[in-house]
Amino acid sequence: MNNKREREEVLETLWHMKERGQASVEVLQQIQGQDFTPAILAGLVTDGLADHDRNAGTVGLTSEGETYARKLVRAHRLAERLTHDVLGRDSESGACEFEHIVNMDLVDSICTLLGHPRECPHGMPIPEGECCRLSMTSAETTVVPLTQLQVGQDARVAYVQCADDRRMHKLEDLLIRPGAVIRLHQVYPSFVVECEGASIALGQDVASSIRVWRPSAGPHAGEGRSPHAGRRGKFRFGRRWGRHGV
């Protein structure tokens, strides 16, 4: 029976529900909608991936199921991060299929490429992988903290790595957000960046929570040509209006 995709969707939903402290079958049905059939859940229970208590009406993941779902969710949210940061905004549709088709080595590579992000663009936590624990920040990382730029370099913001909603909002208010191009003006005594024509002074910890695409080396290095900035050319105030800019 080839219903791998449906089974995995259920496992992912169960993970979501666990994050929110939900465990009722009704919620599962509600979220899954028409895709849900009792047979899939029964299949998962038989395979030892899920628990289903009919009397209490509760469902949950077994520890084996949890390991499986963790990988799926991690792949899904990393894919969202990737499409959101690289391609623009609406990432959900592409990312939906992603976790069903990739292998876990590839997921770790993407995670490393993105500098081990901790949240998907919707603010949900990305489960840690082996690569995050080893915390590889070798040359293969393409997304780097702002603090690693040279003075005078432009770079595009990939995401802001922080769990603090306030910092995220404050930076968003100043238009420091995924897709924005910022130029590093100064690193000492404090960081000063230019974003959308405004100069902003930042502390060390704030600056290192801003992750940017490493500007490519070569003749145009320092002119803000990230690998994705193909036809933007020269800019003073950064990208043109809108995040769909590229």
Partner: protein, 641 residues
């Protein structure tokens, strides 16, 4: 009285709200090219056509979703006062940042007007804003204001008279819209802006959740809580992020509709200058240049003015009166050592006024250029040593303008430790602008080196105090350091003169009565012998410890009344050779640290409570005596007396 419609001026920091307030009300409040010039909501009135309006000028906010306490006050103002018209001020050079707030304000569904400030500057920077297109897109009146001397009162009045609730709203996805409606329905009718309230709760605004709870009874609170939780839980992803994303998308679209940017050629002079001001190497010489410029202008230009006034007015009048009046009480009371005219009126008009005129002109120039906030970058590391991080640095830098205002800007600091240290340091060794001007004038009589010694000491004392406080007070979570720096702007002469005029006018209005009262009080104390008793009592401290002549007691008493009042007397003592080189330095250092001005003490009590305020004032006074004494001994030992 209640018939007057209410207009609230809101906007991001440094977007010219106060300028619009001045245009509307015809009054004058200080405007400057830096954030937090306005720290408390100000109310004014105006009459347009036949209707009366009440106008609120509010401090800047970035968002209705709140980051700090001062922003809560503004949102509460919107929710409690429910203004009839909201005027949003936008800095045209940074229009996109402001449009995010516009998106949030639309949710209030109140009549909204947009003022585009710095319109000419934006044009020069290559930002072209199609006002008509913007007005069409926003569906609200848009009034461009070219610059600081543009006062388009008519256009504003017309916009206010015709403003109506627009039809434009940010479009959220269906699930968000549904959630907003469900939560809004759970509120009773009495809650203002129910949809906005619902949105803020969905955004997980903790501070708003508190005030929302206060507005609701138990049943409604529970209904709302359930709806909010249900909406958050069933939304795929984080609903708060999705809402912000919709709003920010909307602002992007608004910009696309009305704004075009040309590539602005080479880096403009103002940008280069801004960068140099903050530069770790070039920044300090520039700072030194401005301080030196100020020093020499105050010493020489103000000194010359003062001499002129003295020879043309003061001396003839004093001599004439002394000759005309019979020797005795009346002559002493008018033109004697503590005379009403000599120490009161002439001191204010002929000694202090010229100093402040020159000083305020230059200080106002630096304010309008936008130089001062750039100092946060240079001084950050120093202040960090003193336990100040994040948001507490800016208030300290602003302390050089007015200590009272700076104390009030600490309100937004989340950590009590940072707040305490910042307030203490602002009150302690930082001279306010008037004090700085006067210190320059006094030390100018003795030499530039004396100025450097005195101010070097103050800087050291300030850092030491910060380091000690940092060690004493247990650590707390530190706030983020994220400060938008104002753009460097070409100053406008007319606006600068206007500002200086008003500052001087306020000084005269507030200070002259105090000068006169202080002179009368001193004269009275001397007449009844109280002054002598006090001097005898203070002799060990003043003469033995501080190494100052006993007459300095008069100066200290005047300092309590008003710092500027002491300046005249101190200047006279220096001129008449009553103070040695070292004594002059010690006297300046102690009068700068001794007793924060009354308004500052009130502000401290307001922010930290009366007990802490009084305790802090005492601590400052005691330590100023201790430190000035130590300085006196060190100077005597090193450069000799």
């Amino acid at each position: 009285m209640s018939a007057a419609k209410r207009i609230a001026l809101v906007g991001l920091p440094n977007t010219g709200k106060t300028h619009v307030f001045n245009v509307l009300t015809g009054g004058y409040r200080i405007v400057a090219n830096y954030p937090h010039t306005t720290v408390e909501t100000e109310r004014g009135r105006c009459r347009i056509g036949d209707a009366d309006y009440e106008v609120f000028d509010t401090p800047g906010i970035h968002s209705l979703y709140i980051h700090s306490e001062e922003e809560i006050a503004i949102r509460d103002l919107l929710f409690c006062e429910k203004p009839d018209i909201i005027v949003q001020c936008i800095d045209a050079t940074h229009i996109r940042q402001s449009l995010a707030l516009t998106a949030e304000l639309l949710g209030l569904k109140a009549p909204l007007i947009v003022c585009l400030n710095a319109f000419d500057e934006a044009r020069r920077n290559g930002i072209r804003i199609d006002v008509q297109a913007l007005a069409r897109f926003l569906d609200m009146p848009v009034v461009p204001i070219k610059g600081v001397d543009d006062r388009p009162a008519q256009a504003l009045h017309h916009a206010i008279q015709t403003a109506g609730a627009g039809t434009k709203q940010v479009e959220y996805d269906q699930q968000i819209t549904g959630a907003i409606h469900r939560v809004a329905r759970a509120f009773p009718d009495t809650v203002p802006y129910r949809e906005k309230a619902a949105l803020l709760l969905l955004l997980r605004d903790r501070s708003f959740a508190g005030s929302a709870d206060a507005m609701l009874d138990d049943a409604a609170r529970e209904r709302v809580r359930v709806e909010v939780k249900a909406s958050r839980d069933t939304y795929p992803g984080n609903i708060a992020r999705a809402i912000s994303a919709c709003e920010s998308n909307w602002a992007d679209t608004a910009c696309e509709a009305a704004v075009t940017r040309r590539h602005a050629g080479r880096a403009r002079f103002s940008e280069v200058f801004a960068r140099l001001c903050r530069h770790p190497v070039f920044g300090f010489p520039i700072l030194a240049f401005f301080v030196t410029l100020m020093y020499f202008a105050v010493v020489h230009v103000a000194g010359a003015l003062e001499g002129l006034l003295s020879s043309m007015i003061v001396d003839p009048v004093v001599n004439a009166l002394a000759a005309a009046l019979p020797d005795g009480l009346l002559e002493d009371a008018l033109v004697g050592h503590y005379g009403l005219l000599t120490l009161g009126v002439f001191n204010a008009f002929c000694t202090v006024l010229p100093i402040l005129t020159v000083f305020f002109l230059i200080f106002g120039l630096l304010e309008d250029i936008g130089y001062i906030p750039n100092l946060v970058v240079l001084t950050k590391r120093v202040f960090e040593k003193a336990g100040l991080t994040g948001r507490s640095i800016m208030p300290l830098v602003l302390g050089f303008g007015c200590k009272t205002m700076a104390t009030l800007t600490t309100r937004g600091l989340p950590s009590r430790k940072e707040k305490f240290i910042a307030i203490y340091l602002i009150a302690f060794a930082i001279p306010c602008s008037a004090q700085l001007g006067i210190d320059m004038a006094i030390l100018g009589r003795v030499g530039f080196k004396a100025f450097l010694i005195a101010y070097g000491t103050l800087v050291l004392v300030e850092i030491a105090a910060g380091v000690i406080l940092d060690k004493l007070i247990p650590d707390e979570a530190r706030s983020d350091f994220i400060e938008q720096l104002p753009p460097i702007r070409m100053p406008n002469l007319k606006a600068l003169l206007n500002k200086t005029y008003h500052r001087l006018y306020w000084f005269l209005k507030e200070a002259v009565p105090i000068f006169v009262i202080a002179a009368v009080a001193l004269f009275g104390m001397e007449a009844v012998g109280l002054l002598d008793i006090l001097k005898v009592a203070l002799e060990p401290v003043v003469v033995a410890w501080l190494g100052l002549p006993l007459d300095i007691v008069d100066v200290l008493i005047l300092t309590i009344a008003r710092h500027e009042a002491a300046a005249g007397l101190l200047l006279r003592m220096v001129d008449s050779g009553g103070l040695t080189y070292i004594q002059s330095i010690v006297a300046v250092v102690i009068t700068t640290m001794f007793v924060p001005c009354f308004a500052n003490i009130v502000a401290i009590c307001k922010e930290l409570g009366v007990r802490a305020g009084i305790g802090m004032t005492l601590a400052i006074n005691v330590s100023s005596f201790v430190l000035a004494g130590i300085l006196s001994k060190i100077l005597l030992a090193t450069i000799g007396g």
